[in-house]
Amino acid sequence: MVGLRAFLAVASLSLFAASSPGKAQTPVAENIQIGLSTDHVSITAGFSGADLTIFGSLENADPLVARQGRYDIIVVLEGPARPVVVRRKDRVLGIWINLESETFENVPVSYSVATTRPLQDVTDPNSYKQLSLGAANIYMQPADDGDSPATIQEFTAALRERKTATGLYSENVGGVQFLSQNLFRATVRLAPNVPVGTHKARAFLFKSGLFIKESSAQLEIRKSGFEQSIFRIAHDYSFLYGVFAVSLAMLTGWLGRLVFRKD
């Protein structure tokens, strides 16, 4: 509901901006707002990834700066944070075995970024670090502080690499487009294996490389319909679910014999 209202607000704001070209001369600080047309997304049986569109508005934009394209927007959709174990395989007697491991607390399961321009063109690395913005700058807290910094660094890098390879961490350069001077649209990628739970959408506004303002909204990703029921039953009524699985197997076996019997 919140998302819906925000979207309506965006629409009315842009109308207002369009209908009143003559505006006050006093410089007012820019503001950014984002809105989602829905507060939840449902994953169905055929889900193989999707693009999620987030609309937003830029308030009090300086027309000159806007015309020169010096406003940049970065939109992030961050999945729920969960602890993760990263394991490294090493060769023992010729066989590859998981030996070393490192546990990290609170790693976002997914992290999709959309930007107006390549990240390195928007602002400098230090600003990203301060904002902990971008997959490379998320702070990952190791569960065991005793490990050497080199080890932690190695496993952190591996964690990011695996997340990127599986599509959970993604970057969509050019995924944010200005529809008008005040209205923009961001397209972030939802991976096929996007985690369920509460996702947080955040938009960062930069003006000539300087961070101005941030805005956020929440999005719930759910499994819908039949699949969700199965998942929930498997966890909440696991014994009954097991009995059902066994009965289904026996029934299938019996029916299969009736239908396809060859003797």
Partner: protein, 307 residues
């Protein structure tokens, strides 16, 4: 056509799974094995997480062995008493296996352990069977009568105490090896997601000297219950049974199994065993290669089980 698996949490192709089920079902009907030793590795090759492949494999095995056992009941080639004693051992072994499974999963060594067990067991059983059946084939070709069951020839197993008579199998043997065999199979069933037919069948033939015609039916009978129990326990303790996945495999499997059973009747015993041995060896070699070849990704991620 894609379908989303609710427990495995990935999208897969529905026809690939049906075909996989049908192919394995055909082989299982032909050889009288549940087919779990083929289904589980195939699912793992198809990127299903091993923990789910194992639990779902056990579920799928129920359908094919139930279907197969029904044919044997009709033909009277099922020894219920022998199957019952094997089953008693199986329940104990399976319970132990579930605990080991959970423990290895927390350690992060489950996948390795599953692969190693597969390689060692399939390699050994396949190798032994191949040697034996090739010898038998040679013997028949050179004109000598096949000597599978020499009466009067007993091994150490037949000297153990607590003897019991199994009328349908024409057997008078101690219950200790029978219970032990059942327990061993139960343990493997829960860790590997197999019914254990590929071990049960040769063990009954070579160790207990059960007549070959009773072996398959009895083995299937025991497998139904061991894998049903395994499925139940995996469902309650690990929540790793994916009914959607299992159902697709079963649907293909039961169809294939009936055709396979018919094809199997046209082949002679030692030919059948030689083919099964080759199949078992092929799976073992494929899995062994994966253990030694440098993996494309040295690093892997996994969630932390809330304990």
């Amino acid at each position: 056509m894609g379908i989303y698996l609710p427990i495995a949490e990935i999208s897969v192709n529905i026809f690939v799974l049906l075909a996989m089920g049908a192919a394995v079902g055909f082989l299982s009907g032909m050889f009288g094995v549940g087919g779990g030793f083929l289904i589980t590795p195939l699912l793992i090759f198809y990127n299903i997480p091993p923990a789910i492949a194992v639990a779902t494999g056990a579920n799928q095995v129920i359908a094919s062995s139930f279907s197969g056992a029904l044919s044997h009941v009709k033909r009277g080639t099922l020894d219920f008493k022998l199957g019952g004693v094997l089953l008693a051992g199986g329940i104990v072994g399976s319970t132990g296996g579930i605990f080991v499974f959970g423990f290895l999963r927390r350690l992060g060594q489950l996948d390795l352990f599953i692969s190693l067990l597969y390689v060692v067991l399939l390699g050994t059983v396949g190798g032994l069977m191949l040697v034996e059946s090739v010898n038998a084939l040679r013997a028949t070709r050179s004109g000598a009568a096949p000597v599978l069951k020499k009466s009067g020839q007993h091994n150490w197993i037949h000297r153990l105490p607590l003897k019991m008579r199994f009328r349908a199998s024409k057997l008078f043997v101690s219950v200790i090896p029978v219970l032990g065999l059942g327990a061993g199979i139960g343990f493997l069933s829960s860790i590997m997601g197999v019914g254990g037919g590929f071990i049960m069948v040769p063990a009954l033939i070579y160790l207990l000297k059960v007549p070959t015609n009773v072996v398959v039916g009895t083995s299937l009978f025991q497998i139904i219950f061991t894998s049903a129990y395994t499925t139940l326990v995996h469902a309650t303790t690990n929540q790793t049974v994916d009914v959607m996945l299992a159902f697709l495999l079963m649907a293909g499997g039961v169809a294939g199994a009936q055709y396979g059973a018919k094809a199997g009747q046209r082949l002679r015993g030692e030919q059948l065993r030689a083919l099964l041995a080759l199949l078992v060896l092929a799976v073992a070699i494929r899995l062994a290669i994966d253990l030694f070849v440098t993996p494309p990704n040295l690093y892997s991620l996994s969630g932390v089980d809330p304990t």
